[in-house]
């Protein structure tokens, strides 16, 4: 190391308090814009890419933001569901591939998506281990979920009960992990996938228990009322919470299948014409399925990101002011440092240090601190960008 840099480094290490103060001030000033830039660029790319891979989305009328963020990024939303009949009607229209989506349940806090096999195909999801769900109760885990839960095929994990203290709601169900998906670096990595029927079972629409007539004979105290062809049993009856091969026969639906709920429907129209027709038909649909809407996720996200970027610009301006204040502080520290080191500088002069040596020395020392701050800020920003929660969950 040359004399100048050696002296600069030694003084920086000697004046620890001052060095740390300047280092922290510079690091914080750099972290704010750097981190927001990293997060924004990452999420901007990810969100737009995913939206572009989802041409049309249909759901109940309401906030299009909620609809898109739930269907594409599994963000919890409280909008109305649509009937399974609606999905079937879209299928019958034969204008493209229609994929049902059922969201709202979770497993160890990770969102559970009920869908069909076409979803995996369209999203490019392949099992890295095991296979895709084949039976009710089978789940496959996104790569991030599998890693976080240290789960592997064959494990049994309970779903999160929808309402822990509400006895009218179904209890947690045992779900069998049959596969782990290969990582895709999308929201799919952080979700659990299953069949729509499994989600309906988690809703309580499908449930399993022993035959009511047989139970009425063995447990007459459980019978609340009996009528021809209908036996009502008390809440003492504990429903099955396992989708076993033997028990699956017990699972049945009370009510119409067409009325079962879906969160939304992902549509891949055959062509632009089909897309226009479907969109128009859905948006004007006020009939028996209730008010519905079809949106283009790309357009919705453009609107949303437009708002987000306006906020970012505002933050950038604030960051600029912060930078100016920090530079002022650094200049003040440098000036005070020069004053405090006057005797040392005089000694250097007296010994014959070249002209400008002192300024170069102080400049280099600040440069070293600045370079350290840049490195530190870059590291912290990348770490924060990695550990901060997904932006879409904050929107």
């Amino acid at each position: 190391m040359k004399g100048l840099s050696s002296l600069a480094l030694r003084h920086a290490l000697h004046a620890k308090g001052r060095t740390l103060l300047v280092l922290m001030a510079l690091t914080i000033t750099l972290v704010v814009p750097l981190c927001s830039e990293l997060l924004m660029s990452r999420y901007d790319d990810q969100m737009r890419e995913r939206a572009a891979a989802s041409p049309l989305l249909a759901g109940a009328e309401g906030s299009s933001f909620d609809l898109v963020l739930e269907a594409l990024f599994f963000r919890r939303a409280s909008h109305e569901s649509i009937d399974y009949d609606f999905f079937q009607e879209l299928e019958r229209a034969n204008k493209g591939l229609v994929i049902p989506l059922h969201l709202g349940h979770s497993m160890r806090k990770y969102p559970v998506l009920g869908t069909t096999l076409e979803y995996y195909e369209r999203r490019g999801l392949r099992p890295a281990l095991g296979h895709l769900p084949q039976l009710t109760g089978d789940v496959v885990l996104g790569s991030a979920v599998a890693e976080a839960l240290a789960a592997s095929p064959g494990d049994v994990i309970f779903s999160d009960p929808p309402k822990l203290y509400d006895l009218t709601k179904p209890a947690a169900m045992r779900l069998l992990v049959v596969g782990i998906l290969a990582p895709r670096d999308t929201a799919d990595d952080g979700a659990v996938f299953t069949a729509v029927q499994t989600c309906w079972a988690l809703d309580g629409h499908y449930h399993g228990h022993a035959d009511a007539k047989a139970l009425a004979e063995t447990k007459p105290e459980w019978v609340i009322s009996e009528a021809p062809g209908r036996t009502a049993l008390s809440g003492a009856l504990i429903e099955d919470n396992t989708f076993s091969a033997e028990g699956s026969e017990n699972f049945h639906l009370h009510g119409e299948r067409g009325k079962l709920p879906l969160s939304s429907v992902l549509i891949f129209p055959t062509n632009a014409e089909s897309r226009t027709i479907l969109k128009g038909r859905i948006n004007s649909h006020k009939g028996r399925f209730g008010a519905t809407q079809a949106v283009s996720p790309s357009a919705v996200l453009d609107d949303l990101l437009g708002i987000v970027f306006k906020i970012k610009h505002l933050l950038d301006r604030l960051g600029f002011l912060l930078s100016a204040a920090t530079l002022g502080l650094v200049a003040l520290v440098a000036a005070l440092s020069l004053r405090l080191r006057q005797r040392e500088m005089q000694t250097m002069d007296a010994l014959g240090a070249p002209a400008g040596f002192k300024l170069r020395l102080v400049g280099l020392e600040l440069g070293l601190i600045f370079a350290s701050a840049v490195l530190l800020a870059t590291g912290i920003s990348f770490w924060l960008a990695h550990v901060l929660p997904d932006l879409v969950t904050l929107l």
Partner: protein, 232 residues
């Protein structure tokens, strides 16, 4: 006869911020000679030392130091001469508190923006050994006694093998016993390395140790000081 290390003729300097004026009719310092500059405070001893070192400059008279004309030399030339060929010792030691004793000795090399290699470290250790403080090589000035600090400063002055050492009251911060020890040491190492020494001191008891004593009263233009100097 070898050419003198310092040759001054009709040299004069007027302080820009005062009415003090230094006039040196003639001054010569020979190689390996030790010269003590003495006189009361304010008679111009330190000013003369600064002119020789090139920290101050005048354009009246002649002043040649180590073959360089200090009157016509540029600022970088005077700085280079000071750094490479003149050793400086100060009353207050002027060690850098964030460097250990050995690195303080190596300071002239650092100021020349040179890398410190094993050879340089070995030389610094040799100098510290020569003045008997090799055991404090890695201590910072705050952990050294006054005498040890001045020895470190002497080693720093000798690192570049200077032909001339300028010492401005090097014993001023030490008691008379330690002062005598340090001066003996300074004279010994200068003599051993063939360096001339110009020493400013108030301490009359130290004067007999030098080859020659110059009364700086003779250099002052102030009538109060303007008495003939004595040269021994």
């Amino acid at each position: 006869m070898p050419s003198p290390i310092i040759h001054a003729q009709a040299l004069s300097f007027r302080h820009p911020e005062g009415d003090f004026c230094l006039r040196v009719p003639s001054l010569q310092v020979q190689p390996n000679e030790s010269v003590a500059l003495t006189g009361p405070s304010g008679c111009g001893k330190t000013t003369l030392l600064s002119l020789i070192a090139g920290s101050l400059q005048t354009n009246e008279g002649q002043l040649e130091v180590l073959g360089q004309d200090q009157i016509s030399a540029t600022e970088p030339q005077r700085r280079a001469l000071r750094l490479d060929r003149i050793g400086m010792v100060f009353q207050e030691f002027r060690l850098l508190d964030y460097l250990c004793a050995r690195d303080n000795v190596l300071l002239p090399l650092l100021l020349a923006n040179k890398s410190i290699d094993d050879r340089a470290r070995h030389k610094a250790d040799e100098l510290l050994t020569a003045v008997g403080i090799s055991h404090v090589a890695l201590r910072r000035p705050a952990a050294l006694s006054q005498g040890e600090r001045q020895r470190v400063a002497i080693c720093r002055a000798l690192l570049m093998d200077p032909a001339l050492v300028l010492a401005d009251e090097p014993t001023g911060s030490l008691d008379s016993k330690r002062g005598a020890e340090v001066l003996d040491l300074l004279l010994a190492v200068c003599n051993e390395r063939g360096a001339s020494l110009v020493l400013v001191t108030h301490d009359k008891s130290l004067l007999p140790r030098c080859d020659r004593v110059i009364d700086a009263n003779a250099f002052s233009a102030d009538p109060e000081f303007n008495r003939p100097g004595s040269i021994r």
